[in-house]
Symmetry: none
Subunit: 415 residues, 2 copies
């Protein structure tokens, strides 16, 4: 079994929803990479009894307890006195820590006040970890085979201490089980249908390989976790299972690594030396935004026209007045012209167009909110598809954009 | 003493550092607004014993326990069976939940499989909360004066259920004192400078009115919270304080209610019977996306041209070849033409244009990553401004879009 760790975050500002805790997310990822499993994260207020209870609970369950926050110089910073109380020891002023502080303040041309001097106070028996990135040193304390590490809550100080001092020390100390993760990203299939298709495959997985479904909007991430002692063997086993899985859900998998759909589309365009342009009506620029979020996208993204009004569909995109008047903007005929014209006007190898009713207004009896026509056009022809999402405005826009990118991806892998 | 709540997040993906938990941050903020204090947040794995222990611990300390995650249809979703076990009850298929599922699937033209049907399974005695945003209903269960609420982990489903069902129910049940919140939204001024300007005003606030700074990207939300027994009196007092505050930070306030900058720009355009169009290069469609995220934006948004390539800047937007060759795409001359041309081509009353280096590539010695030119043009002329954000790609794009919307807003209120 892998070594178990718990993370304790101390701070009222996180409990009140004023600060988003990204520290524990980052620490989890770092520990996972060295095969240490985080089994619980707890956030508690700057209150003595809550802190002591959390320490005691964590000690029961974990071999490593990493505490962030509450190391500062003000009166609401309680981590050090609580650690001293929990370990049943006193506090003393660490001479080396004081010297380091004095040197830092001299360099900054400032004088140490009493609060600053108190940053050199430490529980007896604690190992000091020098903080090269700020003024509060980290602490390492042990009892009954559980290690307590206390780190400042300021993200770059915490990261500096973790990378330079804590992670190497944990790695040296704890015998590690290897953990190997693989991510498979899918689009265009709901979690429940995916689960049906994978049921038999999941049942035949060896005990040390586990599958998790991580659904987000219109996409499901599959995570395969293999645990053991031989990392090369784990990698080979995971790869073998993925090779069995892929044929089952072939057309829904857009990547066998953890990258976004828009990044995968970008890779395909780059590999095939192709360019893309968009004509976005109801998605209002969101597809273009996703595509241009990817670094280097100017290599394959030529640009877009967002013809929100009827007039602009005609003037900027050359959709025929007759088509708009006969079939309306949300129709197969209009979307086909939009996709074909944006290719022609920009010279892109592939064009994608959207037109629909994002809502809440604009619905008609035969076109409910969430009706979106999407077309993809290239030298091999134009494909148009109607989707009915029936969600609220922002979600319809996101679903439309993801469906459009998925149609582009399909076209690129078919060819 | 205020009512105490705990949040339990269930999911291996969060403990492994693969998914950043933003749900508990958002829930904390919402509870804080109705005077409910979150005293602990716990994240635990998809494991029966860990889940049961966490439930039991939370019940000891809190009157409200909000659980997110683990409500999906697959075998690693354990929240419902664990709640049933914890409350010592069985599970049954809720007929109403099943009917809602069937209706949802019929509308989407899909058939229910066994896994979908199991989403209607509920612990006996639980109150179902209809999920209008997805397939897993929320649950409300009570024992010994502690309420357990279970919500799906998908953020927009969780938020929908919280806003529409959970928060009103918690408020009715637990909140005794009246709380009145007012939000003032500011842009273009950092938190520390805002705090300087508001220092004296904050000091003179009566004890029962508190100010909170809620900073987000390039914006700071100010929240005034008045607590007492007479809601009419609280409203009048808060309004009086806001009237004292506004002259101090006049040009940075874009709304005295909690609406987004793009919605405020939309209101101004609508009031003034004006239309807008964008020429977005480096922001790649993000301004258009923000504008069109607002319901009814088709009343004033005509459309955009996203001329990412040099060719499209000329062909679709009519920027002079000479201008591009002499000054480059990221220049005052080019951005001025872009803003003026998009007005002329679309007939919009106001045009906004962006061109810059989002990064990580593309920088030159005199144009570092994050250099963005923005121009706003209307019948009164064209204003161009250079910003240097020097952040990473996605942040530069967002900062550019917010700065552009802020320039549009300034132009609209000046006139």
């Amino acid at each position: 079994m892998s070594t178990r760790a718990e993370l304790i975050t101390i701070g009222d500002e996180i409990l009140y929803g004023q600060t988003l805790d990204t520290n524990s997310h980052w620490i989890s990822g770092q520990l996972d990479q060295i095969g240490i499993r985080v089994i619980r994260k707890t956030t508690i207020p700057d209150e003595r009894t809550q802190i002591l209870t959390a320490f005691a609970e964590a000690e029961q369950r974990a071999s490593i307890v990493i505490i962030t926050g509450g190391l500062g110089p003000t009166s609401d910073d309680l981590t050090k006195p609580c650690l001293a109380e929990f370990f049943g020891v006193g506090m003393y002023r660490n001479a080396e820590a004081l010297a380091e502080l004095e040197e830092k303040f001299t360099r900054m041309g400032r004088e140490l006040n009493q609060l600053n001097k108190d940053q050199a106070l430490m529980p007896e028996g604690a190992t000091k970890m020098t903080n090269d990135w700020g003024t509060a040193p980290g602490l390492w304390m042990e009892r009954n085979n559980t290690v307590f590490v206390a780190l400042p809550g300021v993200p770059f100080e915490m990261k500096g201490l973790m990378e330079k001092r804590v992670l190497p020390a944990l790695q040296a100390r704890f015998v590690k089980t290897e953990i190997h993760h693989r991510i498979i990203r899918t689009g265009g299939i709901p979690e429940s249908r995916l689960a049906e298709k994978l049921e038999d495959w999941e049942k035949q997985l060896p005990k040390h390989i586990k599958l998790a479904y991580l659904p987000t909007l219109a996409q499901v991430k599959l995570r395969l976790t293999a645990t053991g002692t031989d990392i090369q063997k784990l990698k080979a086993e995971a790869e073998a299972e993925i090779q069995k899985l892929l044929p089952l859900i072939d057309k829904y998998v857009f990547a066998t690594e953890n990258i976004e759909l828009e990044a995968r589309v970008g890779e395909l365009l780059r590999e095939q030396h192709k360019t893309i342009a968009c004509a976005e009506s109801c998605t209002g620029g969101y597809i273009s935004h996703l595509i241009t979020s990817v670094p280097g996208s100017s290599d394959y993204f030529l640009g877009s026209i967002i013809p929100y009004s009827y007039e602009m569909k005609e003037s900027a995109l050359g959709v025929k007045n007759e088509t708009l008047n006969t079939y309306g903007a949300v129709s197969e005929e209009t979307i086909t012209e939009m996709a074909e014209n944006v290719c022609r006007l920009t010279g892109a190898s592939i064009g994608v167009a959207t037109s629909g009713i994002a809502g809440p207004g604009g619905a008609t009896p035969d076109k409910p909110v969430g009706t979106i026509w999407i077309a993809v056009s290239d030298a091999n022809g134009t494909e148009a598809k109607k989707y009915i999402f029936m969600k609220e405005r922002k979600i319809n826009i996101q679903l439309g954009a993801i469906a459009a990118l998925n149609m582009v991806r399909s076209r690129l892998v078919e060819e």
